[in-house]
Symmetry: C2
Subunit: 461 residues, 2 copies
């Protein structure tokens, strides 16, 4: 067999089998955008001749991480809505009201760079003006599943008193649905398939049932999943009960939306029964520990969801609130917050958490045949970590292996030396190859300052 | 006035006043090992002539962080004791039994490097063979408060069944006390005062009352604080009740140890009354959110302790269990875990957490006249962070400032560009100046592999 590139002599954590499959002296061979061989270096070299051999001694090869829920545009206001009640209405919306498409683009680029630098190779982005944001995704070379966020909320929604039911504007709703359909036509399977599109209603509380059913129809027509906030906070439950007399899970079930097409994001306020019902429906769960911990002070019921047989992924959510969009941050928080919630250090062991950022995340997104593990036939989305950094040292394989634990509990993201997507380097020696980082950061700072000049807070905010 | 160095045009977060005192266009002037002026660049330049001016545009200057509780030697076994019950007895002790002084030294150097790279300038280290570890501290140029950990436990304590009362060996106790006294004589105020020594009994459960009283006498004789684990887990409470019939706080109070000389580490199992009693006694608390969350699944009562008027600091504890020794990790965990415990996102706001890693930590350690803030007359322990990293971007000062929030909730540690202790660079452009990092990491890997060869686990472990 012929390969384009072959990494050799590395620790390899393919995320396969019962224990993740860690071994030393390993090699990964890549041809085009695919992995063609993974194994011991000598064995791989016996079977494969590579144009380029990369000696990866001291390095760890593992699948690129998957950030299963991010609103990348919001990074433009990182840190502006913290340590407060009514985070969304009083913290975020006063800024969103004035946010331009260009502001969101500048924020999104920051998040993409931040993610790549911390080993994220696939982003499940859920934002407005997604077509504009996808231009940056395309340029940087990462993999993305994109949803245009659909709601029927007027732009001045931030001025609404917290306890009032959201008003809906069907003209806005139709426009956003159309934008989502256009996004699908314009971008699905673009960039050699690195960009894919699904449908993303913002939440059952933020749109009429009529619009939600229309979204569902489109998702069925194009056979995509539906990326949606579900029970995303007391605010959602409050709105749903006031408007429909039902809590969100019951409402979704009643209207045929609670099934394996659904990516249920957060489930913050789902109670015991509802969580089990969601898990048994076949819906995937996306858990954002850092975000929900900071903005709501809550640990979502992901342990219960997975115990009930559901599959869950991790997401970094939005910068104002979390505030890092770094899957190493998410992994550690998912583990520790669930240990604390269960008062049990055995809950959420490292390997389970790693799966939720790789194989399980791929399954939740419906991408398991392409990404999530280093296996022959899968896309060559891989990260190369330097184990000689303090956080990954020492490396021990006997009498037990400490690599998975140190990846989850110690690594910060800066251990990621190289990032490969579709067999192509997009970061090498911590330098991003397809973007001028300095220029993009200056643009974001500049735009954020201009945006900040427009902001006024109401008295009670 | 004459200065040696002056940083100019920076964001400065001096950690003074009610809100931390953040301002832009700031300067810090340093002469010898002291800060002589902090203010707006033009004002400082009017008063001070510096030999060297460092243009710090785009940078943030703030006090070096204080890690108020670390067992640095244990980094040699990072990641070996995770996701388990009886973490100490079944996870850690099988390794400690075989750990040599050289192993600990190699681990300690890793922790020191890790800390510096994440902006830690002062380490409150609490370990065995501290005299040997201090040689590395001296070499790297950081500030350290050191305690030789005193107990009366035999080396094979790891073989003891979990439910049995620890046996004490008074010969070992005497030897360790003597080592602590020797440490004081040999090292206190060494390295131009950067090294200081206090006394550190490992816990009331791990020594006889007689030895504990002897330690207390030495601490009083030399007028140092006493660095001690208190209620550090159900294991300690169990041992104390079985041996003395008293819970730890009551025991310490009865024997005159619960007062402002005490640094009470963890308080994991302190109940409501005990926590308030400890706070009101004047003892300082050291809170290790990452460590206790991971090894016990518990959030210690630091919110209650500080609400009751106590002063608390943050510590990273040991690598096997936490596993990072990075104060940015600790700050975010302290905030989010306490928000979740209180089910309130307003609890533990960013500024409070920053104080616990700077000014409050200095007060807890009794070093508040020297470190913790950027103020005239204090030691020039300062870190320089690049705000153009994604995690600190954008920087906004109006209509609200997002810098403290992003430091606590987003920063990873790698934003720290330069580290200055006693007015001297010890890291510059992320390069450690006084240690060969590559050599030290290779040594640690080598030692860890040799140590691992000696380890056997009992059947039930």
């Amino acid at each position: 067999m012929k390969a384009d590139k072959m990494w050799t002599n590395a620790y390899v954590l393919p995320m396969t089998g019962e224990n993740g499959g860690l071994f030393e002296g390993g090699a990964v061979a890549v041809k085009g955008n695919k992995i063609i061989k993974v194994g011991k270096t000598a064995d791989v070299k016996n079977e494969v001749a590579a144009e380029e051999e990369i000696d990866a001694s001291g390095m760890l090869l593992m699948p690129g991480l998957i950030d299963a829920h991010i609103h990348s545009g919001l990074a433009i206001v990182r840190g502006v809505a913290q340590d407060m009640d009514h985070w969304m209405q009083k913290g975020l919306w006063p800024w969103m009201k004035h946010m331009t498409v260009e502001d969101r683009k500048a924020g999104s680029v920051m998040n993409i760079m931040e993610g790549i630098r911390a080993g994220t190779t696939t982003f499940n982005d859920y934002d407005s003006h997604m077509g504009e944001l996808l231009k940056s995704y395309a340029k940087t070379g990462v993999r993305v599943m994109a949803s245009e966020m659909i709601n029927e909320l007027p732009d001045d929604i931030g001025d609404l008193p917290v306890e009032e039911v959201y008003p809906f504007d069907s003209v806005i709703g139709e426009k956003k649905l159309q934008a989502a359909v256009d996004l699908y036509h314009d971008w699905h399977q673009a960039e050699e398939g690195r960009i894919r599109v699904m449908f993303g209603p913002q939440g059952a509380d933020m749109m009429s049932l009529e619009l939600l059913k229309q979204v569902q129809k489109e998702a069925e027509r194009f056979d995509t999943k539906i990326h949606m906030h579900v029970c995303q906070g007391d605010r959602e439950v409050y709105q749903m009960e006031k408007r429909t007399g039902m809590r969100p899970i019951k409402f979704l079930e009643k209207h045929g939306l609670l099934n394996n097409r659904l990516l249920a994001v957060h489930l913050t306020e789902a109670d015991h029964e509802e969580t089990i019902q969601a898990a048994e429906s076949g819906a995937g769960m996306i858990n954002c520990s850092g975000s929900i911990g900071i903005i709501d002070g809550i640990v979502p019921p992901v342990e219960l969801f997975t115990s009930a047989g559901g599959t869950a992924a991790l997401g970094s959510d939005q910068a104002p609130g979390n505030n890092g969009n770094n899957m190493f941050n998410e992994m550690k928080f998912a583990a520790i917050l669930n240990k604390v919630k269960a008062k049990d250090p055995k809950v959420f062991p490292a390997l389970k958490v790693l799966r939720m950022a790789t194989t399980d995340a791929a399954a939740v997104l419906g991408m398991e045949s392409d990404i999530g593990s280093l296996e022959e036939g899968k896309k060559a989305d891989m990260i190369v970590l330097d184990t000689r950094k303090q956080t990954l040292s020492p490396v021990l394989l006997h009498p037990l292996e400490n690599v998975t634990a140190n990846l989850v509990y110690a690594a910060r993201g800066e251990e990621v030396q190289d990032v490969i997507v579709d067999g192509r380097f997009i970061m090498k020696n911590r330098k991003l190859l397809f973007i001028d980082e300095e220029e993009a950061m200056a643009e974001a700072q500049n735009r954020a300052e201009k945006l900040a000049e427009k902001i006024t807070f109401s008295k009670e905010g």
